[in-house]
Structures are given as C-alpha cells and as structure tokens.
C-alpha cells in the first residue's frame, strides 16, 4: 500500500520539473510542517492541515479542526473520494489530484501542483504599474464619453425640441431644452415668450425678421417710407461699410426692429434713444432729401426748426383749411371767432367788473374759461354754453317762470324762434340783446333790456328783431363773424368756428410738467386783442428752459422727449416708459425759475 506523489513545479524559464516520490502506508498527511508527507510551502496551509486515509475503495479526507479544504470544488471540513473515480483536493494554492485507481491496485497516484493565479506581478511591465493608467479610465475613452454627453445634451436635445415644436402646438408653460441656448434673459415685456424660442426664431439659421415682431405688434407704425428712409441715411464710413459687409455676409439685413430693440439683455430698461440716433439723418436731412418739408434738426438748443403748429389758415366753404404757421408773435389763425383775450384778462376792464359782480373773482383768469382735459396734458375746447354763457346770455324773453333763450349754434333756429315769438306779439322785440344787457345766471333779461323791450313796442316787427340780433350790437355779432343775407332776405349766416384738436401734431407737449409756470409765461394772451392771434409760443420761448441732450439749460431735452421714432398720437415712447417706471411724475417735475 503506497501513495505515488508526482510533484510538478515550473522553472524560472517556464520549463516543467516533475519529481516523483513514494510514500508507504495507507495514510497521507498534508501540511506546511516539514514532517508531513506532502510538504506544501504555502502560508495558506496549516502546519498540519489535512490527512487522507484509505478505507476500502474510498479515500477519507479529514481536516484539522477549524480548517477546510476544497474537495472537488466544494469547501468541506471532512469528506471522502471514491478511488475508482479519483478526485481533486485543493489546499491553499496547491492542487492534489488523486488519479482513478482500480480497487485491487496497491498504489494511488497523486499529482501535486501549485496553481499560480494572481502571481504574475513581476510579469507586468513595471513602468505601467507606476503610472495612473491602470487605475483610471483611459483619457481617450473619457474624452469621447464627455464630448458625446455634451453633444447629446447641448446639441441633439435642443435641436430635437425645435423640430418637435414645428409639429405640435404646445403650451410653453415649462422648460424647453432649447432654452439652454438662450443668450440671456428676455426683457420683462417679452417674459411670456421665455419657453418659446421659435416665437421669434422662426427658421433655423435665419436671423429674427420684422415679420416675427409684427405677428404681435400689429399697429406699430414705421418711421417713414422705407426708400426715403434709406436715402436719408448718413454716408457710411469705411468702418461702417465694413460692418455692413460683414452683416450681409452673415445674413443680417440692416434696419430690422431688433437693431434697436435688442433682446436677451435681461430685464433691463430700454435706454432713451440717444440724440445721435436721430441727428445722424435729421441733422442734414435736406442734403439727402432736398424735397423734404421737415427742417433739419440735430439738437433742440442749437439746430431745430421753429415750431410750426398746424392752425386754420383759411376756409373752404364750411371746412377749415389747416396749414403750418411759424409760431410766435404775429402768427394769425382764422378760427372764425371774435375774442379779445386782453379785454377779458384785464384787471380793470368791464369783464373784471362783471366777474366781481358775479362773484367769480377779482377778475377773470385763464382757468375761468379753459378747463384741462381729464388726462391733463391738453385743454378742452371752450364750449359756449359752459364757458361763456354765464356772462354772455342768450336769453331774450320771460314767459311766466321760463326764460326764453336763443339756441346757440343754429342761426336758422334763432331766426325761426324770433320770427314766431315776435310775430304773435304786438310788442316789438328788444332793440338789442346786447352785451350790456348781460344778466346773472338764471335771471330774466336785465331790467334795462326789458325797458328797451317795452319801449320798442312800436317797432316794425320780427324782421327788426332778427336784424338786431345779427347786427353790430346784437348778441351774435359780439363774438361771431356774421355773413349778411342778400337784400330783402333774413337768411343770416354765422361764419363757422373751429379749432384744431392739436396744434403740435408731430411733437409732444404736456401741460402738466409745465404747471409750475404761469400760462402767461408762454402764451401772450394778456396782450392779445384778437382771437386770430395764435398764442402758441415760438421755439425761443421753449429754449428759455430746454436745451439739447447736453446743455447748460435747466432741462436737457433729447429728441425723444418730444418725438417718437414710431409716429404715434400720444406721448412719446420715452415719456410713456418713464411714467410706467415711475421715473416721471404727472405733476410738475421741477420748478424752474418763473419767467425764464
């Protein structure tokens, strides 16, 4: 009975060295201890690790307490093998292979070898061991990974979002991938478009066009005829020409809305348009557009045409003809009215006396007749019944408790009323319903009028009354230009009266910021003896306080203070924006020395 041990080791050159040894007996001790039959120089093996004993046709494997061996791949603390089939016993790094043995054989062959896994340390290239390459993912792999990640997140995803949006109407209430392309926050006015890039960026690789703006801003008015606008442009410098070339090369046509209305600048305020922006063309407009009717303007203080209000310069039948007049002293308009401002504003004249009698005040002032519009920028038209009639009565008779009044504004009705009234009466009409006969409001015609009325009882009849009303000294004649009828007729006509709604149509004037000034500091009403005096002041008056964008005058006035690029009837855009932001109060902004 014996075990035939066949130990296989590898030489340094990789050659196999086989040593065979014969162990007599039916027991085989295995361990690190030199006394063991199978001496394994392996620190994973105990000094005396296991014992294999033959019993009949089996081999019993017993392991020292607390240790294990791998028997045919299973970790066990004891077990057995059939001799006929043989088996593997693994202890530490060593493999003992029991070869199949016939039951009658007296020798059991055992192959012993060291399984050298994980021992190739020296075989690896030392230089690589010291570098970081084995412990980090490769630079190339990381580069690809990161680059692809960025391409997917920052290119593919937003592009997909853009094209997805072409096919379905979305509510843009939440984040859209192409927002990461945004060049900055939108202005507060456009904040609602934050999630909808395609609202303005309609086609890829095409700059934002005015059509995109006009989709919402339908009513915005251009500045002028585009061809004239183009012709009025100042000559480009070499740098300007270069810039234009570059822009054209990059598909950026000039003159688009966004040239001025830049977006993605954050919720910042649009700056007042600088004067230079206007002066570039308007400073020498006549040189570029000889046929223009607009005077050259570059700076309110230095280069600006005189104010040319649109006033009534004549009549075409019943229609007033508007024309431009040079404002200032001497300008005359044809409003059809007779009204001496000086007489009414005099502190000593008849109007003042009447005002005192009526308890209106010591004398009349502008506010006695002129009322501001609710908004306050302008004044309402003077209305006869409201603003004049308290003094200029049209009452002509009392009938019981009722005062008979001529209808203002309807000469035919006046004629008919008078004809009827005096036609049925024996009494003659009053010879006049003259200014002297003015009454207190609500009173019957003044006593003097009545006396004259009684005295005229023998007058020739209604024709005389009608003629009296329309003739010098009559109620109509006082204020109106009366067109006499052909001889023998009574068809008197009143010349129509009209005032322009706005004298200054392409500039903006607001009375409120000027409220600290007296009316007379601009409007020379106290010296005006005729209603035809155009009391709009000239630019000289304005320049008392207003200068250009950079000025020593109290009020620096860039073009945008009175004018809008986009023609609009109301206040200029700059003023509107300043009001919205609370930068401009409706009340007088600053009290500038009186009479400047």
């Amino acid at each position: 009975m014996a075990f035939l041990l066949r130990t296989v080791t590898a030489s340094a050159e990789g050659r196999e060295i086989v040593r065979t040894r014969r162990v007599e007996g039916d027991r085989l001790t295995i361990g690190r201890g030199p006394e063991c039959d199978v001496h394994l120089t392996d620190l994973a093996v105990a000094l005396r690790h296991a014992e294999v004993a033959r019993s009949g046709d089996r081999l019993a494997v017993s392991v020292e307490a607390g240790l294990t061996v791998a028997l045919d791949g299973r970790q066990v603390s004891s077990g057995s093998l059939a001799l006929a089939t043989g088996g593997d016993l693994r202890i530490g790094a060593h493999l003992l292979r029991f070869l199949p043995t016939p039951p009658d054989s007296g020798e059991i062959a055992v192959g012993i070898e060291r399984v050298t896994e994980g021992e190739a340390k020296l075989g690896r290239r030392a230089d690589r061991l010291f570098s970081l390459a084995p412990v980090l993912p490769g630079k190339r792999a990381m580069a690809w990974l990161l680059a692809l990640l960025v391409v997917a997140l920052c290119i593919a995803w937003p592009v997909k979002t853009f094209y997805d949006r072409q096919h379905r109407a979305e509510r843009f209430a939440r984040f859209q991938a192409d927002e990461i392309w945004s060049a900055g926050h939108l202005s507060a006015a456009h904040a609602a478009l934050q999630h909808n890039c395609s609202a303005c960026h309609v086609k890829p690789f095409e700059s934002v066009r005015d059509a995109a703006c006009a989709a919402c801003h339908r009513d915005i008015h251009g500045h002028a005829d585009p061809f004239r606008l183009a012709r009025a442009q100042p000559d480009l410098t070499a740098w300007g020409r270069f810039q234009l070339r570059v822009k054209q090369a990059f598909n950026l046509p000039p003159g688009r809305c966004i040239d001025c209305h830049t977006e993605h600048q954050g919720p910042q305020k649009m700056a007042p348009t600088p004067q230079r922006f206007c002066a570039d063309c308007h400073g020498s407009l006549h040189a570029k557009l000889p046929d223009t009717r607009i005077g050259d303007a570059g700076d309110f203080g230095r280069l600006h045409p005189d104010l040319r209000p649109a006033a009534i310069v004549g009549w075409n039948g019943e229609r007033a003809v508007l024309g431009r007049l040079a404002a200032g002293p001497g300008a005359r308009e044809d409003n059809g009215l007779k009204f001496p401002h000086a007489l009414h504003l005099s502190a000593t004249g008849g109007a003042a006396q009447m005002a005192r009698r009526l308890g209106i005040g010591r004398s009349l002032d502008c506010a006695s007749c002129h009322r501001p519009e609710p908004e306050g920028a302008r004044y309402q038209l003077v209305v006869m019944e409201r603003d004049c009639a308290s003094c200029h009565s049209l009452a002509f008779a009392r009938s019981g408790g009722t005062v008979r009044t001529l209808r203002h504004g309807d000469p035919a009705q006046v004629i008919a009323d008078l004809r009827d009234y005096y036609g049925f009466r024996t009494a003659s009409p009053p010879s006049s319903l003259a200014p002297a006969a003015r009454r207190l409001p609500g009173e019957a015609p003044a006593v003097s009028t009545r006396i004259r009325f009684e005295a005229g009882a023998h007058a020739p009849g209604p024709e005389a009354a009608i003629r009296a009303v329309f003739s010098r000294g009559g109620a109509c004649y006082d204020c109106h230009q009366v067109e006499a009828p052909p001889a023998g007729s009574l068809a008197y006509r009143i010349h129509p009266v009209a005032f322009p709604e706005r004298y200054v149509r392409h500039g903006w004037f607001d009375h409120r910021p000027h409220a600290a000034q007296s009316c007379g500091s601009c409007h020379q009403a106290a010296r005006s003896n005729a209603a035809s005096d155009l009391l709009i002041p000239g630019i000289v008056t304005c320049r008392g306080c207003h200068g250009g964008e950079r000025t020593s005058k109290p009020v620096a006035s860039p073009c945008a203070m009175c004018h809008s690029y986009h023609a609009r009837p109301g206040a200029p855009a700059m003023v509107v924006r300043q009001r919205l932001r609370g930068e401009r109060r409706a009340e007088p902004a600053a009290v500038v020395g009186e009479g400047q």
Partner: protein, 279 residues
C-alpha cells in the same frame, strides 16, 4: 594673432537649459500679455449700446480669436508627438501653448461680458476654465515635483523596485514557514499587500491605513526573523508609495485636462451652433 586664438565656444540652444516657460526670454508670455492688454483696452474703450457681451462686434472678435486659439491649443496633442528643434520647436510650441492658453482666461471672460447663466455658453466658459486650471496645476507640478520623483526612487529603477518587493515576498514566505496557521495568515495578508492595487485617492494621498505588513509587524513581535523581513518590506512599500504618489500627482491633471478639452470642444460646437441656429 586673432586667427591663431582659440575660437570661443558659442553656446547654442541646448548648451544651457531654458525651460519652456522662459523660452526665448518669455516671448510668448509677452505676446499673451499684449493680447490681454489689447482685449481689456478694447473692452474699456469701445462704446457699445447697453452692455458688452458676446453679441457685439467686439464680442464676436473676442469669441472668434478665443475659439481659434482653443483649436490651436488642442493641436498640441498632435504636435507633441513630433519632437523638432528650430523656430517652431516643440519647446516653443509648448511655451506658446501655456502662455496663450493662460491669456484665454482674459479673452474668453471678456467675451462673456460677465454674464453667467445656466446655459450652454456658460458651460463652455466653465469647461475652458477647468481645462486651464488643470493646465496651471500641471505646470506647477512639472516645476516642483520631478526632483522629488528622482529622490523617491533612491538609486533604484522602477523595475528594480518591483523586483525588490518580489524578492522580499519570497524571503518572507520562506521565513514564515515555521509559523502557526494563525500567524501564517497574518504574513499571508502582508504578502498580499500590493501597493499598485491602490486606487486614485490612495495613490494621491500616499497613505496606507491598516497596512497588513504593519499589522503583521505589530502582531508577530516574537518572530524576529519574520519581523525583520516584514520591516524591510514595509520600508520598500513606503518607498514605492512615495514614488506612486508623485507619479500620480504628476499625471492626474492630464486625466482632467485632456477629456475636458474634448468636452470643451463639444460645448464650443454647441455654443457656436446655438448662436447661428437661433441667429
């Protein structure tokens, strides 16, 4: 006389070492400073409506210059594989890479107009800064660490260090043969201690907490022969770790610099595409 005098040796390039930073007495540093000064002057003096940003003419110029610079800087990866001398020597190229790369901090930041937001544009800027920062780190360690790298090796070459460890392991294994199974387990774990198995953090810190070799030394105080070998192995391990640490410090920046450069190129592509897509 003069014909017979010994001609003076002219010190050509290479006779005295001039690092890539000082190359041609800071030629590229001067170019970079000029570039930055020009950009700053332009930023301060050029009047733009509103605020400076990438979309003004000046902003486009800055952006174009910056992106061309970045593309050229990236080419160092190709260029460095061909070592040449002369006017466009690799050293000169590297010097320009460093200095012009640093100037990008100024150029690209002015291009942003100091507007930062969670968008692709700021991503590109941030990646660029990270790349530059990692490069600055690289220059710093290249200037400071190579002497330490040589010192840490002692007189050994790297394969010798690995070999020494293996030999010590063999000695240890032999010396430990008489030990009990429990003690042998300690030695076995010490044998298994592989300094090269350490990950990035361990390598960078150079630390080895709970080193099995140290533990074995502490536990096996009676076994003098084994402990002596263990002590030698601990010393060898420490030396290898020092060397590994310096190598890691020298190399780690490239693992940031190179991959982030390519991420930056992708982000730049996205940045430029986004501008023209939504033109």
């Amino acid at each position: 006389m003069s014909a017979r005098s010994i001609p003076r040796t002219t010190l050509g390039e290479g006779a005295s070492h001039e690092g890539f930073l000082r190359h041609k007495s800071f030629r590229w540093a001067k170019v970079a400073i000029l570039l930055c000064a020009g950009a700053i002057a332009g930023y301060a003096l050029i009047d733009v409506p509103g605020r400076h940003y990438g979309g003004t003419p000046f902003g486009y110029v800055l952006g174009t210059v910056s992106v061309l610079l970045i593309l050229w800087l990236t080419m160092l990866g190709v260029r460095k594989r061909a070592m040449t001398r002369g006017r466009w020597s690799l050293k000169g190229w590297t010097s320009a890479h460093v200095w012009l790369g640093l100037s990008l901090v100024v150029l690209a930041t002015l291009h942003t107009g100091f507007r930062f937001a969670p968008d692709v544009h700021t991503l590109a800027w941030a990646l660029m800064l990270l790349v530059i920062l990692s490069g600055v780190y690289g220059i710093a360690v290249y200037a400071a660490l190579p002497p330490a790298l040589g010192d840490s090796r002692g007189e050994l070459t790297r394969p010798q260090m690995v070999d020494a460890l293996a030999k010590l392991d063999a000695q240890l294994e032999a010396a430990a043969q008489p030990l009990s199974h429990g003690q042998a387990a300690l030695v076995r774990r010490a044998l298994a201690e592989d300094p090269f198995a350490a990950g990035l953090v361990r390598r960078l810190s150079g630390s080895a907490p709970r080193s099995p070799t140290r533990r074995a030394i502490d536990r096996l105080q009676g076994e003098t022969a084994v402990v002596a070998v263990l002590e030698r192995k601990a010393a060898a391990l420490a030396q290898v770790r020092r060397h590994l640490r310096i190598r890691a410090l020298l190399e780690v920046w490239l693992y940031v610099h190179v991959p982030l450069t390519f991420a930056l190129l992708a982000a730049l592509a996205a940045h430029i595409l986004s501008v023209f897509f939504y033109w």
